[in-house]
Amino acid sequence: MKILDGKVPPGPIAEKWENYKSTIPLVAPNNKRRLDVIVIGTGLAGASAAASFGELGYNVKCFSFHDSPRRAHSIAAQGGINAAKNYQNDGDSVHRLFYDTIKGGDYRSREGNVHRLAEVSTNIIDQCVAQGVPFAREYGGLLENRSFGGVQVSRTFYARGQTGQQLLLGAYQALSRQIGLGTVDMYNRHEMMDIVMVDGKARGIIARNLLTGKLERHSAHCVVMATGGYGNVYYLSTNAMLCNVSAAWRAVRQGAYMANPCFTQIHPTCIPVSGDYQSKLTLMSESLRNDGRVWVPKRKEDAEAIRQGKKSPNDLKEEDRDYYLERRYPAFGNLVPRDVASRAAKVACDEGFGVNPTGLAVYLDFAAAIQRYGLSEANTQGNKNPDAETIRILGEAKVEELYGNLFEMYEKITGDNPYKTPMMIYPAIHYTMGGLWVDYNLETNIPGLFALGECNFSDHGANRLGASALMQGLADGYFVIPYTIGTFLSNDIRTSRFSADSEAFMAAEKAVDDRLKGLMNIKGNQSVETFHRKLGHIMWNYCGMARNAEGLEKARTLIRALREEFYKDVFIPGTDNDFNPELEKAYRVSDFLEMGEIMILDAYNRNESCGGHFREEYQSEEGEAQRNDDAYTYVAAWEWKDTSTEPVMHKEELKFENVELKTRSYK
């Protein structure tokens, strides 16, 4: 086991970044032109990084497996992006955002990184406004904010329910501008298959042209990965269907460490599963908890009657409903953090209070909000004594203005009208806090290999607060990596371009080719999808919302057996030197089958409950998570060589100098 150094610069927390930034070696403009940077991914993190590198004058090659940079999964983010602007004058500050993020992450993130994130958050909003992101505005023309879970200020900026789309379009447009100017070469429908190492440094990649199946060798002075999260290891998640861990996992196979892989986030408000054909789960944005009230029936008989269709939610009187979040957590109520809200829903359903036929759903109710908004709207219009119908109409109009597209999406999927009957929701896998281990410079333990956005582990500890992933992706891409990359590249200004025909590249290409041919040659009987679903079941049942040692041991055996079966019995139609989406799925699932095992190991190792990682053995009498700060205030960074070598855990100790470790309380 090694002890890893996060390389956080010295000095008072609020000055670290500013001081450090001014000491990072610069690369002169004429030298930048001679330096090649590969960026993989065009989500918020990748597109913002590639665009910024291009603007600075680096020679950039950017890769995405999508047909266009604009389709990256970031496009789907709904609710918003945080920033410590304090435009609402409600007591927000950089320090408060820093503190909320550390606390929200259950004290398992690195102070230095999180403070920097909070600092640059304000620049992000400015940048996006300048790019033309149409954020929501108040009547006075100023930027509007809303609240998200786990905080008591309003610091979330949003563009209707399509914040991710608008931010990504901003970054995509900045990237497109650089492509037009010729500073960035864009390779769409190109999948990174492996990192190429030259003398222990990342100096290029092997990419597969997905349209032709041809392998390509691309060299560069360094490689920046922004390839997203691994939530789809669970098969069913809110992530876009094509999200996968392969890029990150290939880096791990080359020696990069995977940090805190068991820290996964379950989002409390998703549309429940409806059948076994289900391909993905749909998120209902957290912003809904600003106004929606979560409840289940107080009596089991009522829940039973509802499940059987004999009663409807509107039949239940106020006093027969259990608004369990408001009851258990009066200080934060419906706006407790995601991990807390998710577990509470699970408890309610496990105890028999679930409200859909499968018993795995709770209500999210807008009736009170419609009343409240309707009344206040009527009053503003000078109607001091409005009738019920007027209130309803005005209230629904306001709710539509706030959440219209989400309500519409819900109705499209379920066929129910949430203005009239409460939504049904259940937790689902949503985000992965774990990821490639990186230091303060966002560099992995492989020199010259950087990781940004959801694919690194850096800022969210054991639980991410809502609206903070977009913030992190753009912080990393616009405001951190353009500086910190200098720490590596300034040593390379005399290094000439690398040939992509060297032995290292040829060998890497051959290894990828062998792997693909190996998969094609299995010629078994089961589809890739079949294996992915089975993997998902194992992960959800044993390494999902609640975990315990016994289950995790069993899961490890199951996953190994499944992997073996995969390599014996998977069937992939078509050929490897052609457009072949099934082959793409196959190699992604083969990587998930290894990633899943490391998640299980990590969950097993961490004998505590913190954030999204809930070990049933470690809970208080009221069922709250119990951390073990003495033993586990560290980052677990896993080294994985191959399937026949036992993975090794390395540690980065977390030092808290600016916040006091406390039991997280939202009561």
Partner: protein, 248 residues
């Protein structure tokens, strides 16, 4: 419910392609794409090539899914992408015809997958505001009227799916291009560059082989994000103004 599908199969751009018939059993709660997943699973079990179609978010936001369903881009429901269409809108015994988006500027890749990279090149030509990272002023120094910001957002909601092109008898990309021009041009930040933006985007659009707009409004009717054709009128005005000015 039992359905008969007629699915377009085409190996590559230069292959003539043909309809292939499949009988499927579907559940009313399934999404349209889940129905295709189930069919693909069966095909794979029979060691046949599954139907290639593009998809990713399955929430109507990424713009990946793209298919004609019974002659309409994204199918029968207005304001709905193919991935958000659910089988409860079909009935037992229905015949469903599924084809790729067809247009001169969208070459077929395989089956229902087409190449829409021409859209990217239109944006690269000018669909942006030229501001480098770090050059921005404080977000609140430019107040923007709520309505103005809101109409910019209406246009910005375009997901780049290409249904407008597929719906248009001329294969025109006017609605897509106009939506981007409006998103940026309506905002004060985007006004400065408007002339250059509209001229270069329209030039690129023509270069890509998209047809001329003859105001049939089929695009608006089929757009899953209900982008309004008023954006096209706006683009025409802006283009005219810009051409006059650039002639000076």
């Amino acid at each position: 419910m039992k359905l008969t599908l007629h699915v377009w199969r085409q190996k590559a751009a230069n292959d003539p392609g043909t309809f292939e018939k499949h009988n499927v059993e579907a559940d009313e709660h399934m999404s349209f794409l889940e129905m295709l997943d189930v069919l693909n699973q069966t095909l794979i079990e029979q060691k046949k090539e599954p139907i290639a179609f593009e998809h990713d978010c399955r929430e109507g936001i990424c713009g990946a899914c793209s298919m004609m369903i019974n002659g309409r881009p994204h199918g029968p429901l207005n304001g709905t992408t193919a991935c958000q269409l659910h089988m409860r809108h079909f009935k037992d015994g229905d015949q469903i015809w599924i084809e790729p988006f067809r247009a001169k500027a969208f070459k077929v890749v395989r089956d229902l997958v087409v190449d829409r990279s021409s859209f990217d090149r239109i944006i690269q030509a000018g669909g942006f505001i030229s501001v480098n990272t770090g050059q921005a002023v404080d977000g609140n120094t430019i107040p923007i009227e709520k309505e103005r910001s809101s109409s910019s957002m209406d246009a910005a909601a375009c997901i780049g799916c290409g249904a407008c092109v597929a719906a248009c008898p001329n294969g025109s990309a006017m609605l897509f291009t106009a939506a981007k021009a409006a998103h940026l041009g309506i905002l004060p930040q985007g006004e400065v560059e408007e002339d250059r933006r509209v001229l270069s985007m329209v030039t690129q659009m023509d270069k890509e082989g998209f047809g001329r707009c003859s105001n049939t409004y089929a695009c608006e009717a089929e757009c899953p994000k209900e982008i309004s054709v008023t954006n096209i009128a706006r683009l025409n005005r802006a283009y005219l103004k810009a051409s006059l000015r650039s002639d000076l």
